[in-house]
Symmetry: C2
Subunit: 331 residues, 2 copies
């Protein structure tokens, strides 16, 4: 097999996903191998373009997998704005640029979050009515999966941004087949007067807006979220990031401790239960976070990106493309 | 046994703990019974005064347990300032008053958090150098227990308040025998520049202050907290409350789901593991939150207070008294 350069503009029939191999904690060659192995499980209409340095350019690739050579890497420590201005031949920048030009339908990166946001804001416009994009992630609960946003794009916010997040989150869940998504506002208590003055403003505004395209069910405490029952959890980027990482941290500790005690006992039926639960709850299984609110499908994976996160993001990107998420959010 | 009224000023030998039976989701008579049963497990020098309505005043009580009659209840929905002004014969207000007057060494309530804070701020002065009290709670990690504050007393804050919380938290851990407590600042990343402008100011100030009585180890992400290794986690009341309730919510869901699958399998050794883990991680086992920074030991339990939370708070109150926590924090 020969190395191919992606020159084809993606047609209605083909779903073309770009993957950044650089800038994360995972060695690029290992990520490449995992993606290539995963290609077989994908529908034939899915094509992949991998972005990496020249050293990987000569790897033999199967049909439908392309390689695009970059000469720069945006590192985790790089200042986002500096990186976006000075590293225009980086894998991250090139990927977003190809998305903008229509050569890709979606782009996935595990690199510098700030730089991915900056490049996306610079190259792809924000959608009508959206001032700021938000990072949106799907989390498991006892019942259905909940879309949480913002989980880290913005550490400061105004009330209007959280209202926009509610609309974006509702559009996302509609594209997943939920007709009238239930929206909750993350707060320290259920009563209307709880939280900061900004949150009280958001509460009142969401209450007025509550009607299709979504149903506002009020404030929700972090404790209740995992019981399930709502579809969209609205919060600011600082709180959402703490929420997400707390959930991840405690889940990892509990499952690890259980696994340790089970290893001592070697009782397989329960190991199976545990494996199932780990699969259900381990957040690395979840497809990273969607940079929602820009005119393009950009997904950010964990930077200590397990392969699972990248592979699951590919599936997620394909689904979002097939279900016309961007059109749904524009309407 | 006769009902006795607490008139004795607590001496150096006696540790006198007050318990509010009203204002929570737990029926007062059931809480009374649980406390009375628990009394036997306590050292003889611990005396308890229960605060409730007249209907419970005639219950037979063992030696060392007293009853103080209140005529009012501060409800969960009451406005804190209104309640404190108008309900001076409520169990909550009377308890804080008796603490101020030296009839009690500590007071425990599962009632209205805002009212408990308001009464404490009004009747007990804040400690020298402390502008605002904070709710402090101990959380389990993989290694040692961590003191987290503020977990909900204040939803807005300035940098100086978080510095005070660091000092209060360090004094608390010193009173538990940790010579040089390690203090971390909850943030969305480890780098100094992460988070809001206020957090960057707090980071720089803590770095300058870092020396005995504590060691500042920098920003810490929520994900890392449960791996253990730090003794005090400093955060604002909004973020801390979300952090605490997220941890609680996800732990409950995981342990419940595991318990369900195990019930089907009836395999006892693993049920034992699970029970141990639940005991280690279930946050209701933990002694509620200490209202730290006021001149008195006031503990707030979960409002859906399991008995465990109240009983464990009694033990905690006794320990704090015996270890002269207030003196330690004043120094």
């Amino acid at each position: 097999m020969q190395r191919k350069k992606s020159k084809i503009k993606s047609s209605a029939d083909i779903c073309h996903v770009g993957i950044d191999l650089l800038g994360s904690d995972t060695p690029p060659n290992e990520l490449l191998e995992a993606v290539v192995a995963f290609k077989e499980q994908l529908e034939p209409f899915v094509q992949l373009t991998l972005f990496g340095l020249r050293d990987l350019a000569h790897t033999a690739l199967p049909d439908g997998v392309f390689f695009h050579t970059a000469s720069q890497i945006i590192e985790m420590e790089d200042d986002p704005l500096y990186a976006v201005r000075r590293k225009k031949d980086s894998s991250l920048y090139l990927g977003v640029q190809m998305l903008k030009e229509g050569h890709l339908d979606a782009f996935i990166s595990s690199g510098n979050t700030g730089a991915l946001m900056a490049a996306s804001k610079l190259l792809l416009s924000t959608l009508p009515g959206v001032d700021r994009p938000a990072l949106l992630t799907l989390l498991p609960t006892r019942k259905t999966e909940i879309a949480v946003l913002d989980v880290g794009a913005n550490t400061s916010y105004k009330a209007k941004h959280l209202l926009q997040f509610a609309l974006i989150g509702a559009a996302f869940q509609k594209s997943r087949g939920i007709d009238l998504p239930k929206v909750g506002l993350l707060n320290v208590g259920a009563e209307a007067k709880k939280g900061t003055p900004e949150l009280r403003t958001v509460y009142e505004s969401l209450k007025k807006m509550s009607s299709p395209p979504f149903l506002f069910i009020g404030n929700i405490e972090a404790r209740e979220v995992f019981q399930g029952g709502i579809d969209v959890l609205v919060t600011d980027g600082f709180t959402g990031n703490v929420f997400l990482k707390t959930a991840e941290g405690i889940a990892v500790v509990i499952l690890d401790e259980l696994e340790e005690s089970m290893r001592e006992q070697e009782f397989s039926p329960l190991n199976l239960t545990l494996t199932k639960l780990r699969h259900h709850l381990h957040f690395a299984k979840y497809p990273g976070a969607l940079l929602a609110g820009v005119d393009g499908i950009v997904i950010k994976c964990h930077s200590n990106a397990s392969f699972d996160s990248v592979l699951s993001s590919i599936t997620s990107a394909v689904r979002l493309t097939q279900h016309h998420f961007l059109d749904s959010i524009k309407n």
